[in-house]
Amino acid sequence: MATTPAAAAKVWEQNATPRHRIQWCPGCGDFGVLAALKMALGRLELMPHEVLLVGGIGCSGQIRNYLNGNGFHGAHGAPLAYATGAKMANPELTVITLAGDGDTLAIGMENFVHVSRRDPHVTLIIMNNGVYGLTKGQNSPTAGLGQTMEVHTEETPPFVDPLRLALVSGASFAAQSFSGDPKHCAEIYAEAIKHNGFAVVNDFSPCVTYNKFNTYEWYKEHVEDIPAGHDPSSKDAAWALLDDFDRRGRLPVGVVYRAPRKKKPHRRLPIWDEEFADVDPTPMLQPFR
């Protein structure tokens, strides 16, 4: 924890790597996510060394470098699995996965479903733009949001809804945000980070270069705050809300579902020499006698 709230905010506001130009297109939705994360982390009064940011591969994944905190960045599609291992090993860390829709829902689909089931205290912010930005705009699994398909073919499957998938898979927290409104994002992210379990935030983060359909304007026309009366602790209410918004062609923004499971507590695994001092091999040898 930082000494004062103001100090905490400041520590996150600085660019992690001031000598680095931010390599996003002007207007990229990821700027909003970055701003919102800075607010959220400051508000939570975390210190950078307590935080591990696991980045995906994509335009979005670069955010790990623009933000204070430790960063890890491995294979495309893999960040949730690294994050799960890191959190299992050291529950004292705040572990946040920041990745694109391609990374998370195409090549990373296997992790998305299984990590939702495992429910580690890990936050996932999907910077969802409907395309593979970094490889120049191919369709991602969320491509086609808001469009209907008349004739189907294997090559162009319909889009995936990450929230429904997370809910079906067992995520205990599911929210949606729009990076065009960083203040609101920050509130949602803070909730997600605090949630003791796997928290998925599907953030609509427009790709101004390659997605000419799901633009800021389009999102502004389609997002709608989740009504105050919604009970996120009820799975039925969550589904009903999604159905209702779907029917109306709207995208809910806010916390759709939050139902922490009862968790077995775990300690940080031993790493220092002295933590191995009195290890007794007898229980292992016994059965072989």
């Binding site: 950078p48 060394h49 935080v51 090993a89 992790n111 790493i271």
Partner: protein, 627 residues
Amino acid sequence: MVVNNLKLLVGGVQLRDGVTTITDILGKMFVRAGLHVLAMEKGYASTIYGAHQYDPVVVAETPPLSYGDDRTDILVALEFDTNPDVQPQPNRDTLLRHGKNLKDGGVLLYDSTTSLVDTSDLEARGVKVFPLPARQIALRELKREVVKNTVVTGAFLRLIEFDMDYALFGQYLEERFAKRGREIVELNLEAARRGRAVIEEIMKAHGWADVGYRLEPRPVERPMVLVNGNEALSMGAILAGCRFYAGYPITPASSILEFMEAHLPRYNGRALQGQNERESIRAAIGASITGVRSAIGSSGPGISLKVEEFGVAGVTETPIVIIDTQRAGPSTGMPTKPEQGDLAMAVYAGHGEIPRIVLAAGTVEECYTMAFEAFDLADKYQCPVFLLTDLTLADGRKNLPEAFFAQQRRPVVRHGLLREADLTGDGYRRYAVTESGISPRNVPGVPGAIFKMSGSEHDEMGMVTTDPPKRKAMHEKRMRKMQTYLKEDVKPPQVVGTPDGVPLLVGWGSTKLPLLDAQRQLREEGLETAVVYFTHLWPLPVHLVRPLLQRGSTVIVVEGNYNGQLADLIQQECLIETRRILKYNGRPFYTSDITGGVRQLLANGTRVVRVGDRAPTVVLETVPEGD
């Protein structure tokens, strides 16, 4: 009368007949009696039920080197019925497959519940045949089918005149069943006595005083345990400080995962059954990032699916121990059969080039000792360390003194893991370019420094870069670790014998014992050789290996794969011509494969001998098998 030296083979229908239940009991008893046990050829199929299973066990007074080739002294056939696939008698798998390997004058014990088998051909070879209606005794007389194997055990003990007062057997039963009630212990003792009675009757009928084999207890100087390679490796890993282990179930690595799941929590560690091959290694990398000694274990197909992550570990400089219990490939291959086919993969797998260390254990003992080495090296060099074993070792059991485990244990020392106190000043660079190639390692959560790790090329701070000089410096820094390792930690091959002017028998992995046994055999036949046995395979210590190999008259590499993967490495690195004895038929090397191969190589100019057309003979048209 042969005392304290026999090879027993128990066979039967997988899952149903409980082959390894018997060998487990017997193995424990022999070891408690001060005898030595070597059982490296556990034969099973990649299906759960119905296939033929067998388990050969060598018992001796001193630690045996040899698996005894395919010769068997005593054959125990647990099938009580016939194999529907084959018409002619004798038609039980164990007899069919292993009968002709039974030594002249050997012993056959089989379950005669459904019918007697025509064994006249064996009897003609002097084999003493004991039909025992074990299942029938269990079902009819004792009303409990499950004790059929105890009937067999009792019979077997009588054959070899071992533990006739049931001191050891009774103790075993107590330990195993006392909790579940005295009656079970008594029932089993009775079952054993009934088996014994049948044997005695047959012996009397034939007028046999004994069967020619006997096991005698020896004074137990040091208490022994009976463990397989996976168990030894798992214990080594835990004592070496491994506290996170992940694996997706796969033969023959699964038993490491099971061991870890059973024991790690006791040591404040965690074991994770991955939902797939990639999740397991990725979670282990995640755990390792936080400073935890982490490992994964798998076999060929699972290793192939993890290749991309070796590169991630290499470039992010995350220590990770990768255990590959090799099995016969490629692809799904033969999941329950041994091979040494993954060396090239361990050395080369992945696009681009990373520092990596490849070790291979060759004995159950080395499975234990090299686990310590693997974790220490991973820690020190912050890179993937492969520890290769194979199915022969993974499932192969051997007795070891308990003291061995204490003597060979190494304390956990975390070289180079920075603590808060080490992090003074603002300038912490995770990837500082150093002379040794090793950069100071911090873990997230320690106050005093934050840092970025990346699988993209990066500068000393971990920021992505493609600046040519920076790239060159960072790539060379990473690769330089291998030079440091070659200077500070590599071990030369083990040499047994005097290499000068004699053929060198070169090997790695589980061929070690057969190599030593072949050396002994060849010496008896008048041919001196030296065994050169590698545990540290990559990077190859050329400066040590080349001069050594040049001393021999010829270099014969003995490997359980098709190409001769170590031989290739030696040629590449040392520019020394190798000759090869290769076996890849899904069976371990026998002493005779090597002695025969050597003689063939030396007799003519052949460069490669491919053994294994023959053994073990299988009569069935098609061997039923799964995946």
